[in-house]
């Protein structure tokens, strides 16, 4: 298995840009309440639909709430849903992939056919189906997005497991009577971690987009808590005379998706030399 070569990372400007965007986003999401100039739910009746200026850097909405503060708090909500969903998908999917790849045989066939079945749905459709059954809200969005991305992690984990399980150190561990779970956890997982880390970054980008889509359709984070998708959806009413309401949340979604995508692409290039020249 290839390991990350740190010096090479610094020669990839795209990845550095992605890393910077992602780190900025995570910092804003974590410290949103401390960094925001106003409480995100605070209404200022005298300052409705103020254009961007000195007091409200990115303007205010119909209720006189500061758009920048709501975007920052929206980062917390959007990223929390995306991160929890990817954590769910990565842990469940990796476990399934490890078991399928290590066990082989009928268990492998059953688990991977199940994963294939979930691939038979467009991601947004599957997420909509799950949320429509469970009800709108951030928790159910986490579950829906998590289920949608689980099969991807199962595939990503399974392929290198098939390779690593034939290595001598795994055979040696098995000969010593080491338990299956310990072999998976201590000997195989660390050696298949690289592609999973790449996938986590890419999945975060798509999970942010999927969460924004669900929120835009009114099925994600519930108002008045801000989320980027819902802010964009609400902006449609007033955007002709307050275009900043439509521009800013969309730009935030795009930058977040771009950041994690470029980080993931860069990590993949660093880990897989064959991809670098294409």
């Amino acid at each position: 298995m290839k390991t990350l070569r740190i010096p090479r990372l610094w020669r990839a400007p795209g990845m550095l840009f992605g890393l910077a965007l992602s780190v900025l986003l995570v910092v804003v999401a974590i410290f949103a309440l401390q960094l925001a100039p106003f409480p995100p739910l605070e209404q200022h009746a005298a300052d409705m639909l103020r254009p961007p200026g000195t007091v409200y850097a990115l303007g205010s909405d119909l209720m006189g709430r500061d758009v920048l503060s709501r975007l920052m708090r929206g980062a917390t909500n959007s990223l929390r849903v995306a991160a929890l969903a990817v954590a769910l998908a990565a842990s469940l999917g990796t476990l399934v992939g490890l078991i399928a790849g290590y066990a082989g045989g009928w268990l492998d066939v059953i688990l991977m056919r199940l994963a294939d079945l979930l691939f038979a749905f467009p991601p947004l459709l599957l997420a909509l189906a799950i949320v429509s059954a469970l009800g709108a809200g951030a928790e159910n969005a986490v579950l829906a997005i998590g289920i949608v991305y689980t099969p991807i992690f199962a595939r990503v984990a399974r392929a290198p497991t098939l390779l690593v399980k034939t290595r001598e150190y795994v055979t040696a561990a098995r000969a010593q009577g080491v338990s299956v779970w310990r072999i998976l956890w201590r000997h195989i997982l660390p050696n298949i971690a690289a592609p999973i880390i790449v996938q986590i970054s890419l999945a975060l980008a798509w999970a942010i987009l999927l969460e924004a889509s669900l929120s835009y359709l009114g099925l994600g984070t519930k108002p008045p808590e801000p989320s980027w998708g819902a802010m964009l959806s609400e902006s449609r009413r007033d955007m002709e005379y307050a275009p900043w309401l439509a521009i800013t949340p969309g730009a935030a979604i795009m930058l977040a998706v771009l950041g994690f995508n470029m980080l993931g692409d860069g990590l993949r290039d660093a880990l897989d030399p064959q991809m670098r020249n294409t």
């Binding site: 459709l125 998706v257 771009l258």
Partner: protein
């Protein structure tokens, strides 16, 4: 070739069955059941009334029996009745489908034309500023949420050009083709831009990969121009991964159409689904999800067949 097609068709049937099982199971995740969910609180109904409703919809039967009767009926084209409109679900779906299909096809066309052009343009200018700019554009296209792009298009059209693309009733193509295309061109562009970006990226890397092959070097050493080698030799082979990608992405267009129809207020399948979800009309929700998933499977099957048709290694196997 015929063996390949048979193999694909054999896999298709169990996948369709599995998809139906998933749709059925997911709709059973509803807390309580559809009757409780639709009525809201039970206080409006006596226990006896709720029980008779459950019996009417067959919800009192064992789950396996419910599934077999639902799936059997679905295979015969009976997806049940909409609780809100009282009309057959399949009829509602089929009346909305032409719009979504047209939107998807237009988006696919836009994605193919723009994506292949951009991909070839960047591949043949590798390492130049134009290549970097083209690649960056493609990356932006991938990250751009289609509901934001749609919103921005409406914003620019309404404030700068004083055109409201989502106002007025939708006109079907059969009634007035020009008006219909005028209504669908912006939504189709919105939907097709993401596809453009992925096709451009795949085309670029596939063409670059082919340009490195031995046959390309041989063609060059025969004295053929770089343009000829790229267009006549490499581009055709580079289309193979693009076809696979288009197969997958065309299915995603169906998902994307749900959001784009909402942005542009188009009465297609996506809006039917969203309204059904909002109104807790589970028969329609279940029917539309199954219908879109079936189309997704069919598109992937078609893409596999197209791949086999253009790839001599599969065609002659």
């Amino acid at each position: 070739m015929s063996r390949f097609i048979t193999q694909r068709l054999i896999v298709f049937a169990p996948t369709l069955f599995g998809v139906a099982v998933i749709v059925f199971v997911v709709m059973r995740l509803i807390p309580g059941d559809t009757i409780t969910a639709q009525i809201g609180t039970q206080t409006l109904l006596t226990d006896a009334q709720a029980a008779s409703l459950r019996a009417y919809y067959g919800l009192d039967k064992p789950v396996l029996e419910q599934f077999t009767s639902w799936f059997g009926a679905a295979l015969r084209g009976d997806l049940g009745l909409s609780v809100r409109s009282g009309k057959p679900v399949l009829g509602e779906i089929l009346s909305r489908f032409p719009l979504t299909l047209e939107l998807g096809l237009l988006a696919l066309l836009i994605g193919l034309v723009l994506g292949l052009t951009l991909g070839m343009f960047t591949a043949t200018r590798r390492g130049t500023l134009a290549d970097a700019a083209g690649q960056f554009l493609a990356l932006i296209g991938l990250a751009l949420p289609n509901f934001w792009l749609g919103t921005l298009i409406i914003l620019v059209l309404s404030t700068v050009f004083h055109i409201l693309p989502n106002s007025g009733d939708y006109t079907p193509f059969s009634q007035d083709p020009l008006r219909n295309l005028g209504q669908l061109i912006f939504p189709a562009f919105t939907l097709g831009l993401g596809l453009t970006a992925s096709i451009a990226r795949t085309t670029r890397s596939a063409v670059l990969e082919e340009l490195r092959q031995d046959y390309a070097r041989t063609a060059r050493s025969k004295g053929l121009s770089e343009r000829w080698v790229t267009l006549k030799h490499c581009f055709r082979n580079a289309l193979l991964p693009v076809i696979t990608l288009v197969g997958i992405q065309a299915g995603y267009l169906l998902g994307g159409a749900i959001v784009v129809e909402e942005v542009f207020a188009l009465p297609g399948l996506g809006r039917l689904l969203l309204n059904a979800i909002g109104q807790r009309d589970y028969a329609v929700t279940q029917g539309v999800i199954l219908f879109i998933a079936l189309n997704f499977l069919l598109i992937n099957l078609l893409a596999d067949l197209a791949y086999a048709l253009v790839n001599p290694r599969v065609r002659n196997a």
